[in-house]
Subunit: 161 residues, 3 copies
C-alpha cells in the first residue's frame, strides 16, 4: 500500500466514525419525534427487535411491549400535547456497538399551559444491524430517583473509557 | 477512473453530506442566538430572501416582515430576558435542499424567576444558495395546538423518507 | 502534488474540521454529565489547567477552585437531583483554538417535583492541548442578568466572524 492509499484508508475510517456518531445522535433523538406522533411501529423500530426499554415505572422487553405502551390510553391521551426531547448526549462507538449517555425531558401541554413533565438521565446501548443503528438497551431514570446518579455515572464511564 | 480515485470520490460525497448536516443544525440553532440579541437583519439573514416563517399567531413572508416582528416592542421588550433554544432536530439533505423536523423552546426571565414561555414543534425547509444554507420555510406550532401533531408527523415523514 | 493528492489533502482538512466541531460540542456537554455525578477531578479536567469559569456569582480560576465548588456542600447536596444540560451551541474553530456560544439549563428535583433552576447564556474559549480540546474560559450569565445580552452577542460575534 502506497502512502496515498494509506491516507485514503485513514480518511475512510475517520469518516465512518463521524457518520456513526451522527447516526447515533439521530436514532436516540428519533425516538422522541416518533413517540410524540403516537405511531407505535415507527417508534419501536428505533429499538432492536429484542431491545429493552427500562424506565422508572416499567421495563419493556421487545418491540411488542414498547408498542403496547405507546398504544395505551395513557400515552395516546398525551399525543399532540407531549414533547419528548432527547439530549444533550455523549456517544462512544466501538465497531458495530455503541454506548451513549445523557439527558431527556418530557414537556406536557395542559390547561395551565406547558410544563415540565419529566427530566431524566439515560444510558443507551446500541448496535449496528443491517447497516442501521438501533437501541439494544435504554435505561432511563427520573432526576431525583435513587438510581439516577448511578445511571448517569455508568453512562459517563461508558462513553469516556 | 481507478480504484483509489473512486474511493476519494466516495469520500468527497460522504464528507459533503456530513458538512451539510452540521451546517443545517447550525443555521436552525443560529436563529435563536440571533433573535435573542435583538438584531433584526442578522436574524432575518437566516431565512432566504423570500423565506416564510409560519407561527401560531403570525405568518411572516420575506425578511422585511421577519425584521418587523423582531424590531417590534413585544420582542424588543424580551431581549436579554428570552432564550430561544432550538433542537433536538433531525435533518435530511437532498442536493441543494433539505428538510428538518424537531423541537424548540422559549424561556423567559421575569419577576418570579425563569419559566417556560413556549415549547413548540417545527418543520423546516432549507435551501443552499451561494454556498450557504438558509431557511425557506419554517412552520412552528405550540405544543397542544390543534396542528402540532400534524406538523411533527409531516416533519418526521420528510426526514425519514 | 498531483490532482488526486490535492483532493486527499483537501479531504483531510475538512474531516479535521468536522472532528473538531463534534469534539468541542462533546467537551462543553461533558461538563454537565461530570458535574452531575459530583466527581470533582473528572469535571475540572474539562477545563485547561489554568482555565477560568466565570459565573454570575463566582469566578473560579484554575482547576483547584473549580473542584472546590464541586466538592462544596451546596453542589454535593444537589448531586442526583440536578441536571446541567448544555446547548444548543454554535462552534467556530481556528487551528488549535475555538470559540463557542450558546445556552445551558440546570434542572433540579425537589419536594414539589422537577423545576428549572437556571437558564443561562454562555461564551466559551477552547484550546487544543496534547490532542484534546479543553475549556480555557467559560463565561455564563443567568437569563435576565444585566450582562446576559452582551455575553450572548459577544459569543455570536465570535462564532460568526
Amino acid at each position: 500500500m502506497n502512502d496515498l492509499e494509506a491516507r485514503v484508508q485513514n480518511l475512510e475510517s475517520r469518516v465512518r466514525a463521524l457518520e456513526d456518531e451522527l447516526a447515533i445522535h439521530r436514532v436516540i433523538v428519533r425516538y422522541g419525534l416518533c413517540v410524540d406522533t403516537g405511531d407505535a411501529p415507527r417508534t419501536s423500530e428505533v429499538f432492536a427487535a429484542d431491545g429493552v426499554y427500562d424506565t422508572d415505572v416499567l421495563v419493556m422487553r421487545g418491540r411488542a411491549e414498547i408498542e403496547a405502551m405507546i398504544r395505551g390510553d395513557r400515552h395516546q391521551g398525551m399525543v399532540g400535547r407531549c414533547a419528548h426531547q432527547i439530549g444533550p448526549a455523549m456517544v462512544e462507538v466501538s465497531g458495530d456497538t455503541a454506548l451513549a449517555a445523557g439527558y431527556s425531558r418530557v414537556y406536557l401541554a395542559g390547561e395551565r399551559g406547558i410544563g415540565i413533565y419529566r427530566v431524566s438521565v439515560n444510558r443507551w446501548e446500541l448496535e449496528r444491524s443491517e447497516g442501521s443503528w438501533r437501541i439494544r438497551n435504554r435505561v432511563t431514570r427520573l432526576l431525583g430517583h435513587d438510581e439516577a446518579r448511578a445511571v448517569l455515572a455508568a453512562g459517563l464511564d461508558a462513553v469516556t473509557r
